[in-house]
């Protein structure tokens, strides 16, 4: 299998162009689904590849509990990697697992804290308006999902814009966007090359909710105005944009621009278009990554079986 074992580790590099193209050419709903699936698949494959390198590279190091036969000469000739690679893979695996565990724990902690904060609010009301001079609006996932909006945010929008805001937050809850966000976040913990995918999924979920809000209030321009006005009152106090804002416009102006332009079709783009091509390249990259990871796993399994005396 040779260098194919390394493919799943470096193929996630393709996620940057994939994320770019998906943002510009796909309906945000399709973009979220495509990107989170690609992210998860590539992350699993990348972990599998690390695991294989670790097993083959270190099985004969003294003190390693794995059976020595797992790294017999015949396996080594088939998988010509030495101890250095295996040891690096161990470090990689440990880092990956720690990062994932930490990320997951933080996710659960924030959810639990938000649920606890909302506990005194009587059940049954999805919208919770909190007296707070700071403008914010959040969708809090959980048993009953809640939309939390501060009075300052409500006051800065007119009645129609409030409807757009609430429709946006309800769309986050109804479409379970937090699951996609978590999946993408864990994937980018597994392989840092997947970080562009995480950012793209974050942006695309906002766009998806924007589009649903525009559909539900029946006015794209009104929704664009609600987003812009909310961002302008939030200014310094909101969460920092998750995008590195070099010279490029940040996520909010891009969302407003997208809402002021005609809606993208929900259909998948035809294969001949740049977007269709990008989707196919993405699918192919993921498939190659999956196949080489599986191929490596099967090959190793067969070799180990042949080399193991029982």
């Amino acid at each position: 299998m040779g260098f194919f074992v390394f493919l799943p580790l470096v193929l996630p590099l393709t996620s940057l162009p994939i994320a770019r193209l998906a943002e510009h050419h796909l309906h945000p709903r399709n973009a979220v689904r495509l990107l989170s699936w690609i992210g998860v698949t590539m992350a699993v494959c990348s972990t599998l590849a690390l695991g294989l390198l670790f097993v083959v590279g270190t099985a004969q190091i003294p003190g390693n509990p794995l059976p020595d036969s797992w790294s017999d000469p015949e396996i080594r000739t088939a998988v010509p990697f030495h101890e250095a690679v295996g040891t690096a893979a161990v470090a990689g695996l440990v880092t990956v697992l720690t990062a994932c565990a930490r990320s997951l724990r933080r996710h659960l902690r924030i959810r639990a804290r938000a649920q606890r904060a909302l506990a005194p609010v009587p059940p049954g009301s999805e919208l919770v308006v909190l007296p707070d001079p700071e403008p914010y609006a959040y969708a809090v996932p959980g048993g009953p999902g809640r939309v939390v909006v501060s009075t300052a945010m409500m006051d800065s929008l007119d009645a129609d814009e409030q409807r757009a805001l609430l429709a946006h937050e309800r769309s986050h809850l109804a479409n379970r966007h937090h699951r996609h966000l978590l999946a993408a976040q864990l994937a980018s913990c597994v392989n840092p090359f997947l970080r562009p995918l995480q950012k793209a999924v974050g942006y695309a979920t906002e766009r998806w909710a924007d589009e649903e809000a525009a559909g539900s209030v029946g006015d794209r321009r009104l929704t664009a105005r609600a987003v812009a006005r909310a961002a302008l009152v939030t200014r310094g106090s909101g969460p920092a944009p998750s995008f590195a804002a070099f010279a490029a416009p940040g996520p909010v102006p891009r969302r407003v621009t997208a809402l002021l332009s005609p809606a993208l079709g929900e259909a998948w783009p035809p294969p001949a278009s740049p977007a269709g091509l990008a989707a196919m390249v993405a699918a192919a990259g993921t498939a190659v990554s999956a196949v080489s990871a599986l191929n490596a796993a099967v090959a190793l399994l067969l070799l180990v079986k042949a080399a193991t005396p029982w």
Binding site: P120, Y136, H177, G202, R220, T234, V252
Partner: protein, 147 residues
């Protein structure tokens, strides 16, 4: 704090030195003030203790249930027991807790989807011009609600 529907005049005891029997309204007021002083949502037995323990647990529960029916208090489940707090406090308490959460968890965005993120100065300028353009050309968009 407004004690809507809580009638303090009903069931007054006598005024002759003896520890008089307090009426329902008075008890309700005391329970409410205990809840206001509480550091957060509390259990009924905590309320009972704060009242000096002279009332039966069931009495405290009865008063709390009546206050709940009048929406003067709210209750939520904490483990197997209910915890209670004054209704006027619930929103403020929730707001304070929410703010603490937002202030101490910088990485909350992957869990709680925020409506908007912060703007750079360039973004702000761009956004203002987009907003102006959107407001000055009402025919340009797909406005179909007649506003």
């Amino acid at each position: 704090m407004e004690l809507a529907g809580v009638d303090p005049g009903r069931g007054e005891g006598d005024e002759h030195g003896r520890p008089r029997r307090r009426g329902q309204g008075e008890l309700a007021t005391e329970v409410l003030s205990v809840l206001h002083r509480a550091p957060g949502p509390v259990t009924a037995s905590w309320v009972q203790e704060q009242l000096g323990g002279e009332l039966a647990y069931t009495t405290v529960m009865t008063i709390l249930s009546r206050l709940l029916a009048k929406q003067a208090v709210v209750r939520s489940r904490a483990g197997r027991a209910y915890v209670w707090s004054a209704a006027a406090d619930a929103a403020g308490l929730t707001a304070r807790r929410m703010r603490r959460l937002l202030d101490t968890e910088p990485d909350r965005d992957a869990v709680l989807a925020s409506f908007v993120t912060a703007l750079t100065p360039e973004d702000e300028q761009l956004l203002r011009s987009l907003l102006n353009a959107a407001e000055s050309s009402p025919e340009g968009g797909s406005r179909d609600d007649g506003r």
